[in-house]
Amino acid sequence: MSFENLDLDFLERADIEVVLHLGQMILGIDTEELGPEFIVEADAFIANLEEFLQDDLKQLLGLFNSRLIAFLLMGTFKHFVDMTPEQQATFYNKWVYSRLGLFRTGASTLKALCGWSYYSLEKSWEAINYPGKTIGREDKTPTLLQGKQPWQEGMEL
C-alpha cells in the first residue's frame, strides 16, 4: 500500500503529511514504519465522528501546521512538517504546557488520534509483545487463569 491514491473520507493530501509527522513525533515511530495503514486508520477514526468534531479536527490540523502559530510559540515561521524532530517535540510540548486550555486540548486530541490509529493496527502488535486474539488459540493465552491452562482443545466453551 502506498500513500498515493488512498481511499480516504476525510484526510486530504496536506493533512496526511501533518498526521504522519505527528505520528512520528508522538509515537517515536518513523513514517515509513507507520505506513499508509496508519493514515487509513486515522481517517476512519475521524470519519466516525460527528460533523462538528470533524470540522474541529480539520481546523486543528491546520492550526498545528500553521506558520503563524509556530511563530507565536517558537519564534520561527516554519510549518510543523518542516521543523526538525527536536523542534517538533518542543513545539508540541509548548501546546501541552500552554496556559491556554485550547492548546492543551489540541495536543491531547492529536496524541489520542495517533495512539489509537497505530496501536489498534495488527501490524503494531509484534513489536509490543502483544500476542493478539484468543479466539481459536485459547490454549496459547499467556495469562489464562494465572498461567494455568484449564482450556483444552475440543472443550466446550
Binding site: I29, L49, R104, T141
Partner: protein, 514 residues
C-alpha cells in the same frame, strides 16, 4: 423480537404500552419487569444488534461499532475521555464485569440528603440478591487472578492495606481479557444474556440501530416517540405510548430530555459525576500481560473514605490496546520503548468517588456555536459535556495516585510512569515527590471515565432533583428515567449493579401506574 433497519416493518407508526429508550442496565431491567407483567413493550437502541459471533476481538472495528463516538467521547476540552457503550446491551456489553452493590453508607447518604429512605440497605437487599442470582455474580476465586490483579493483592499484603477479590458477572470465564470488545465466549452475563433475554420471552420488540430523536409529550398518558434508523436512510419511526422510560445513560438521556423540552426545572443535565480515573504504569521484571486475564478481579479501597465517605479505590484494567495507545505517557522514542515493554507492564487505575464537596461537578447540555462550512459560518447545535475536577476530588485523586505508585513498587515494579503528558519516570521515593511538582491541569494529567452518572438525579425535592423516588420526572408525569443518570451521587463502586438495583426498587415502588 429484534428489529434491525434491514427488517424494519412497512408500518412505521406503532403503538406500545411502554416505550423504553436504551437497552443498557436500566432499560433492560425495566423491560424484563414490565414485559413479564403483560405490558406491550417497544425498546429503541441506537447502537447495533450484536451477538457472540460479532465479537471477533478486532479492536479497530469493534470499538468504532460498539462505543459511543467510536471510543472518542470526551468532555468538550478533551481532558476526560468517557468510555460508553452504544450497542445492544449498552455499556454492560463492553464493561469489565465488576459487580459491586451500592455501599450501605452511600444508600444512607441518599436517604439523608435526598429523602430516599425507600432505598435504605434493608429495602435493597432482596433486589441485589435477585440481580446477583440472575447474572451469576460471584467473588472471583483465588486461583483465577491474573498477574496484573496480583499486583493489587501482593502490594496490599506487603503494605498492610486493604486488598481483596472483586465480584463479577460471569459464568465459565476463561480470562481472555477482551471484555471491552464484547465477550466472544458468552461468559460475561451482560444484559443481552440476562434481562433482555427475559424480556423477549414476552411482548417485547427491540428496534436496534434506531435512534430516538424526540419525545412529544402530550400528557401523562400520551406521548409520541420519534426515531430514526441509523442506516443513512430517510425513514422515520413513530410510536405512540402511555408511558416512556428513558434509559440512554447519563450523557444521552439528559440530551434527549432537553431536546424534547423535558428538561424543565433546570436540573436535567446538571450534577454529572464521572468517577474520574487516573492511571499509573509499572514496569516489572516479570511478565504481566495486561491485555489478558480476568479484568478487575481484585481491588483495594483503603482510601475509600478520605473525606466524609469520599475517596478513591484501586483496580486494574482490561488494557485494550486502543486504551494503551491513547493513554500511555510521554512522546517520542521513550514512549515507543515503553510500549515495547507492554508484556511486562502492569497498570493500576485509581478511581475517585467525585462530589466530595457537594458541588455540581459537571454538566451535559446542548450548545450553539458557529461552525465554518464551505466558507460560511453556520449556527449549529451540538452536544456539550463540561466537567472540572473539584479541588477536593483532585486532592483525593492525587492521594490515590501516590498510593498506586507505592503499590507498584511494593509489588516489585522497577519503574513507575504515571499517565501524565510528561512521561515522568519514577524509580525512587524522591522522584515521587518530584513528579507531584509537575503541572497537573486538564490535558496534562491523563484522565478517563467509564462511569457517568447523576445528570438526571433522583430525590424528593423538585427544586434539587429531576425525578422522584419512582424515577418519574417531577414536572412531566408519565415519563420516567431509569438509568445511571438518576443516581443521586456517585456510588463509589463500578455502577452496573447500583443502576440495576435502583431501577428494580423504583419499579417496585411505582409500578408505573398503568
Amino acid at each position: 423480537m429484534i428489529i434491525t433497519p434491514d427488517n424494519l416493518p412497512e408500518d412505521h407508526a406503532l403503538q406500545a404500552d411502554i416505550v423504553i429508550i436504551g437497552t443498557g442496565a436500566g432499560g433492560a431491567m425495566a423491560a424484563a419487569r414490565f414485559a413479564s407483567q403483560g405490558y406491550k413493550i417497544i425498546m429503541l437502541e441506537e447502537g447495533p444488534y450484536v451477538s457472540k459471533k460479532d465479537f471477533t476481538q478486532e479492536e479497530n472495528t469493534l470499538v468504532r461499532k460498539m462505543y459511543r463516538r467510536g471510543g472518542a467521547l470526551a468532555t468538550d476540552d478533551m481532558s476526560i475521555r468517557i468510555l460508553q457503550g452504544k450497542v445492544f446491551g449498552g455499556s454492560t456489553t463492553i464493561n469489565w464485569m465488576n459487580s459491586f452493590r451500592t455501599p450501605d453508607d452511600v444508600l444512607e447518604e441518599w436517604s439523608a440528603d435526598f429523602g430516599l429512605e425507600e432505598y435504605l440497605p434493608s429495602y435493597m437487599e432482596s433486589h441485589y440478591q435477585g440481580i446477583e442470582e440472575r447474572m451469576s455474580i460471584h467473588t472471583v476465586p483465588e486461583d483465577q487472578h491474573s498477574p496484573q490483579n496480583l499486583i493489587i493483592l501482593e502490594a496490599a499484603e506487603k503494605m498492610g492495606i486493604h486488598g481483596e477479590a472483586c465480584r463479577n458477572n460471569s459464568h465459565g470465564c476463561i480470562g481472555c481479557g477482551k471484555c471491552g470488545l464484547g465477550c466472544a465466549y458468552d461468559a460475561k452475563q451482560d444484559m443481552r444474556l440476562t434481562y433482555l433475554k427475559d424480556a423477549q420471552q414476552y411482548d417485547c420488540t427491540i428496534f436496534t440501530s434506531t435512534k430516538a430523536t424526540r419525545i412529544d409529550y402530550q400528557d401523562n398518558n400520551n406521548q409520541t416517540i420519534h426515531a430514526t434508523p441509523q442506516d443513512g436512510s430517510e425513514r422515520h419511526v413513530t410510536i405512540t405510548t402511555q408511558r416512556t422510560i428513558v434509559a440512554g445513560g447519563a450523557i444521552m438521556t439528559p440530551l434527549l430530555l432537553q431536546h424534547s423540552g423535558l428538561g424543565t426545572g433546570g436540573i436535567v443535565g446538571k450534577y454529572l459525576h464521572l468517577h474520574p480515573v487516573l492511571g499509573s504504569v509499572g514496569l516489572y521484571d516479570r511478565e504481566i500481560y495486561p491485555t489478558y486475564g480476568i479484568p478487575m478481579s481484585a481491588y483495594s479501597h483503603e482510601l475509600k473514605d478520605i473525606t466524609n465517605g469520599y475517596g478513591v479505590w484501586q483496580e486494574v484494567p482490561d488494557l485494550e490496546l486502543f486504551l494503551a495507545g491513547v493513554n500511555m505517557p510521554g512522546i517520542g522514542p521513550r514512549r515507543k520503548e515503553l510500549m515495547e515493554q507492554a508484556n511486562r507492564m502492569g497498570v493500576i487505575l485509581t478511581l475517585t468517588r467525585d462530589g466530595a464537596s457537594g458541588k455540581s461537578a459537571g454538566q451535559v447540555r446542548w450548545r450553539r456555536g458557529l461552525n465554518p462550512q464551505n466558507g460560511h459560518f453556520a449556527l449549529k447545535k451540538y452536544p456539550s459535556i463540561t466537567y472540572r475536577l473539584d479541588p477536593l476530588d483532585k486532592k483525593h485523586a492525587l492521594m490515590g495516585l501516590r498510593q498506586a505508585i507505592e503499590m507498584h513498587f511494593s509489588a516489585g515494579a522497577t519503574k513507575v510512569l504515571p499517565m501524565h503528558a510528561h512521561g515522568f519516570e519514577i524509580t525512587n521515593d524522591k522522584q515521587i515527590d518530584a513528579f507531584f511538582q509537575l503541572p497537573m491541569g486538564p490535558n496534562q494529567l491523563s484522565i478517563f471515565s467509564a462511569h457517568p452518572t447523576g445528570s438526571v438525579r433522583m430525590g424528593k425535592d423538585p427544586k434539587q432533583t429531576a425525578v422522584n423516588e419512582c424515577m418519574e420526572l417531577h414536572h412531566h408525569p408519565g415519563v420516567y428515567v431509569m438509568d445511571g443518570s438518576t443516581l443521586p451521587t456517585a456510588p463509589g463502586v463500578n455502577p452496573m449493579v447500583s443502576i440495576l438495583g435502583a431501577v428494580s426498587r423504583a419499579i417496585e415502588l411505582g409500578n408505573i401506574g398503568l
